[in-house]
Symmetry: C2
């Protein structure tokens, strides 16, 4: 081998906070409190606190490969806990407070977590989880006094020593564990690694993706308990951007106030959050001059909402696509792209590769402008789920996303549906996403879902479930717009009007529940 | 260890061209030819040609760890050769055509290169090198017919098979070898690695550094034979940017023509290149509307030139600092930074860490606003030079750059001089860079250098060497402006007016030669 070498540099996530603490020590992490005030801390101080938490955890026996769960909203204390756990080489298992104690306990049992750190307002849920699991579970309150069975972390931080040294483990070590939302099946655990999340962060910082700068203030509404909050708690300190956290309140008024007060330049979250913001801004007659971009993902972006956001707020809306298994970002529309189409999610950056296949996973001969099953490959894509022996990838290393997609001539990804949501009627496939896109765009409709209902003649037939904005809308008003847009036999056989659409814990429509309640068929 | 895994993804440089070929297949690499025309090729086709060259080289016995040298200007053929060599795991030893055959032969002997690929206009030099080295050296012409001892590559490409598979070696494998310019000592070889250059590229794509986008057209004037052309032949395909290569001509007229014709948005090179462009643009009354940014480095940026470029061309000038040992980028001023000071080179991005030390390498107690010896640490910084057994780093992993620097409160780096250029007069240090900055900014002065001359009383005393723009300038006109700007005992004892300042092969002032000719002292 040729002689000479470059320096070793482990791709571990503690590097981001170390960098921010040294080079942007006073750039802030800001958290909205319940009482309407904010808490703020500079990266240097946050790192010092976080290292003290590592020392506390080490004193409790946590080491490399240890597991600690978090149950918290987007707060400074949660960020401190993340870096404390990950920086010492332990695994941070994030729990979604919107799931039931029984569901969460099942996950905690599987991950063999020994310590659960919880936000003060979630200690009740934490205690319920502890009551459901076979293992001993030490509860720590990260932002409040001791209560019930839970110890307060703050006095322990005060008593801990400074200068705990992070790193020193292999960069392929796991850093996190997140269970999928399970909207279409049993939750699966995705094990995140330092290296994958580091490279994922490098991707997020590129000009043609999330494009974060040290001059940005990033409002992170996407929850930290779900898929790394799209990696923003890594990406913001990596460039020294201000990180603005909404706590538990993501209503329009709360977000508008934070954006104004903290000079937010980039806001990130699911589309419904921005509908709430827009409605508040319009009702209150506000301007949000600092806000330059909104990055959306996690659900299809309604075209009307995108247009209203860009027009009323004067922002660029960047669509994106990802999933828990992708750490989680797949593609993001470039902010500088002159074409901004809500149906397109952007092009892959280097490190992510996409392929459309038939139902058996064979690549379609035509990879452009043909609908197929979306497969993905890359540095931050799952290879094997937590607790499974078989790989989640095929022989060529592709991971089947379960999404249906089309890639256009320019390489832009359009998600066209979920494979599991497809309805088989008379031996032919119906894609409910295409019907939902038409009906969901009607002004009368708030939310629309199409599922298959068992049918003695056709096997399955589509039915439409709607939550209406205007209660009076007739069947014809809802179905007429489909004519000419979808095949006539795709038009739903029935319409069910719901008071409120059931949503899963991540805010997506809960199709599992809809199928259970409405998919069984009718007496004929 | 916790269960589950992310996919493997080796950080090798072939990934960039693979990505561009698949996702930006028609984005172009454009080369200016000697006759004023341009050659253009899309990334997909360039990749196919490059893989055929790998097949040709494999047929000649080149494999992982093999060494191939290149002697060429910035051209498509040179880019093809780079990826062909690096993609197969061989080492690309870039040779500077401005050095003498004897110098180059000494390097080629040390690197044990067996094949030398040369541009058609450099075959004569290649033959001279071959005549100087002990080993057999196969010569290949990459962009012209066979001549003399050199075979033509083009017919071999035509006869080669498609689909050579790149990668498959460890990401820490070496990809390149570059000898330092040796302006202050014997040239040292720096061994680049795939992993380091991959991570270096990720850094270059960040918003606060070189900020390249797929929408950019990047004029790469910085030569490919010197320090990876600052990584641009990696960064451009990594995002699918158009790569515009000037061939051998970097005069103002040639560059202006390329910028206009190819819609160049970002131009990268040493300051003197942009002086030439500016003078041509002013003389010809041109506008360059597509050009948004100029990234400079490799030498101090004259404040007047920076101001004129920004004003006349309407561009943002980004200063930077790096060196061969850093792959080569250290810091780059953020394009969005409202303060653009020619004396500041920017802040480090994550993956680069800076420290100022005393002459013994001990960190200064005050790391901000204090001048010291600059040390650097990071993923793309040399640990051990080619052919050396000792590390180039200290016990804490720091590499001493040999530069003197100051870091301001915001973390911006200001290079204040070269440690080896310091002059010791009466036991006290004089920094020639500070004197050169004042004299060099005078309108009468084209280039200024200060060196130490042996002095029987003081040990050394500074003397000033100038190449004048206006021949008549008096001693007083040159020295008077120093009063009050530097200590009175720093003012040079003598002035030497040179017809033309001697420059080293990289375009920097050749202080080694100045010291040899003028530093020996006078009879007293």
């Amino acid at each position: 081998m040729i002689d000479g070498a470059m320096q070793p540099f482990a791709l571990t996530l503690d590097k981001f906070l170390e960098h921010a603490a040294k080079w942007r020590p006073t750039a802030e992490v800001v958290t909205a409190r319940e009482d309407g005030s904010v808490a703020r801390i500079g990266y240097a101080e946050l790192k010092a606190r976080s290292q003290r938490i590592s020392a506390v955890l080490a004193g409790m026996g946590v080491g490399v490969g240890g597991r600690v769960a978090t149950l918290a909203w987007n707060t400074q204390a949660h960020v401190e806990a993340w870096y404390a756990i990950m920086g010492m080489g332990a695994v941070c298992h994030t729990l979604n407070p919107r799931l039931t104690a029984a569901h969460l306990a099942a996950m905690v049992e599987r991950s063999e977590v020994g310590i659960l750190v919880a936000g003060a307002d979630l200690v009740g849920l934490a205690e319920q989880i502890a009551g459901h699991v076979p293992q001993d579970l030490l509860l720590l309150v990260i932002d409040g006094p001791a209560m019930g069975d839970a110890l307060a972390l703050e006095p322990l931080i005060a008593g801990a020593s400074d200068g705990y040294v992070w790193g020193g483990f292999d960069e392929t070590a796991p850093c996190g564990l997140c269970f999928t939302s399970g909207t279409t099946g049993a939750p699966k655990g995705v094990t995140y690694t330092h290296r994958a999340s580091f490279l994922h962060t490098m991707r997020a910082l590129q000009v043609d993706t999330m494009a974060l700068s040290g001059a940005d203030a990033v409002l992170t509404v996407v929850p930290m308990f779900h898929a790394n909050a799209w990696g923003l708690p890594f990406a913001a300190p990596a460039v020294g951007a201000k990180l603005v956290l909404p706590g538990r309140n993501a209503d329009g008024a709360s977000l508008a106030k934070l954006i104004l007060k903290e000079g937010v330049t980039v806001a990130v979250g699911v589309p419904t959050v921005w509908l709430g913001l827009l409605e508040h801004v319009e009702a209150a007659g506000l301007e949000l001059p600092s806000l330059k971009r909104i990055i959306v993902g996690g659900a299809p972006m309604p075209p009307a909402l995108m247009a209203r956001l860009e027009e009323r707020l004067g922002v660029i809306v960047q669509t994106s696509w990802g999933m828990t298994e992708l750490s989680p970002s797949g593609v993001v529309a470039a902010p500088g792209d002159p074409v901004r189409d809500p149906a397109l999610s952007g092009r892959p950056a280097v490190g992510v590769d996409l392929m459309v296949a038939d139902a058996e996973g064979r690549p379609l001969p035509q990879q452009r402008n043909a609908e197929g099953h979306l497969h993905v490959r890359g540095a931050a894509v799952v290879e094997r789920y937590f607790g499974e022996t078989a790989k989640a990838t095929d022989a060529e290393g592709w991971f089947a996303t379960g999404d249906l997609a089309r890639i256009d001539d320019d390489g832009n990804l359009a998600i066209t549906g979920r494979a599991k949501d497809l309805i088989k009627s008379g031996g032919e496939w119906i894609n409910p996403a295409e019907i939902e896109a038409v009906v969901g765009a009607l002004p009368e409709v708030s939310l629309a879902a199409v599922i298959g209902r068992i049918d003695p003649k056709w096997g399955e037939r589509p039915i439409l479930l709607v939550e209406l904005r205007e209660p009076g809308a007739s069947d014809a008003a809802l179905l007429e717009p489909l004519k000419g847009r979808v095949a006539s036999w795709w038009i739903p056989d029935a319409i069910v009007r719901l008071e409120s659409m059931p949503l899963a814990a991540t805010g997506k429509i809960d199709k599992l529940r809809l199928r259970a309640e409405y998919g069984a068929g009718t007496a004929t």
